[in-house]
């Protein structure tokens, strides 16, 4: 794999960190719950990328298996999260998290 050596691991770390930060930024910027979910998914994907890069670096498969589990968990989280969203939308008719401010202090 001579060609691959040309890409240092740090580049992968860099890319995934950037993606992760963009995800965080999105969570901070948007108020629509669905978009926030998506940004969280983005964060998870950045982690996945990092995991795969490391696993390739170490030549150790367990990293990729872990990514596998992350995907399963992501699916489960999305399922539950979206149903919570639906329930909230059914009661309040909005998906704006700014609307959630009854509980405070």
């Amino acid at each position: 794999m001579g060609t691959l050596q040309a890409i240092p691991l740090n580049h992968y770390i860099l890319v995934s960190v950037i993606l992760f930060s963009i995800g965080v930024m999105g969570v901070l910027l948007r108020r629509n719950a669905i978009i926030i979910f998506m940004c969280i998914e983005l964060m998870l994907n950045a982690v996945n990328l990092l995991m795969v890069a490391f696993s390739a670096h170490h030549g150790d498969g367990s990293g990729q298996v872990f990514v596998f589990f992350i995907m399963a968990v992501a699916a489960a989280e999305v399922a539950v999260g979206l149903s919570i969203l639906i329930m909230m939308h059914r009661n309040t008719n909005t998906t704006d998290v700014g609307f959630l401010n009854k509980l405070k202090f």
Binding site: Q5, I7, S21, M25, L29, I35, L42, H57, Q64, T95
Partner: protein
């Protein structure tokens, strides 16, 4: 040649990720996110994780994103109903996101660049993954079925309207 592919994919991923965050219309966000996923899948291929690449496409682009679209339509959110945040909030958000990136990156800039040696490119192959998954990771595998079950129950319990009593 792979360098260029790598840089192109990275560029694509980051750009579309930014678009996810900044596009007004949720539908567009979803589509950009799908694009990001494809780019990441490309990275997987580069890293010899072909199986993961496929799974990634199937699960994320194929299932999760479809689900998102469903919800968007279900709740009729194609028009952007989201109230815009105040500018200073936006600024603060961007700023702290950037800072986070900087701090995370800063922790590595001291690190000498580690060349990505792939002493064993076979690991990405489905067969090998399967061996690991079903030997070492047998217990997590079974437990994850519990996870999926509870997700299933939860989803039904929350999103299904109760039968009128």
């Amino acid at each position: 040649m792979t360098q260029y592919v790598f840089y192109f994919l990275s560029f694509l991923a980051i750009l579309s990720a930014l678009m996810v965050v900044f596009s007004k219309n949720p539908i567009h966000s979803v589509l950009y996110l799908v694009l990001t996923f494809f780019a990441i899948a490309g990275h997987y291929v580069l890293l010899n994780a072909q199986f993961l690449a496929v799974v990634h496409i199937v699960v994320y682009a194929g299932a999760i994103m479809v689900l998102f679209l469903y919800v968007l339509m279900l709740l009729n959110l194609n028009v952007d109903a989201e109230p815009v945040k105040k500018n200073w909030v936006k600024f603060a958000g961007v700023l702290s996101g950037g800072l986070l990136m900087l701090t995370l990156v800063a922790t590595f800039h001291k690190a000498e660049t580690m060349p990505l040696i792939q002493d064993n490119p076979e690991i990405g192959v489905t067969a090998n993954l399967g061996k690991i998954l079903f030997n070492e990771f047998a217990l997590p595998f079974e437990i994850s079925s519990v996870l999926l079950l509870s997700a299933m129950i939860g989803a039904i319990m929350l999103s299904k309207k109760d039968t009128k009593k």
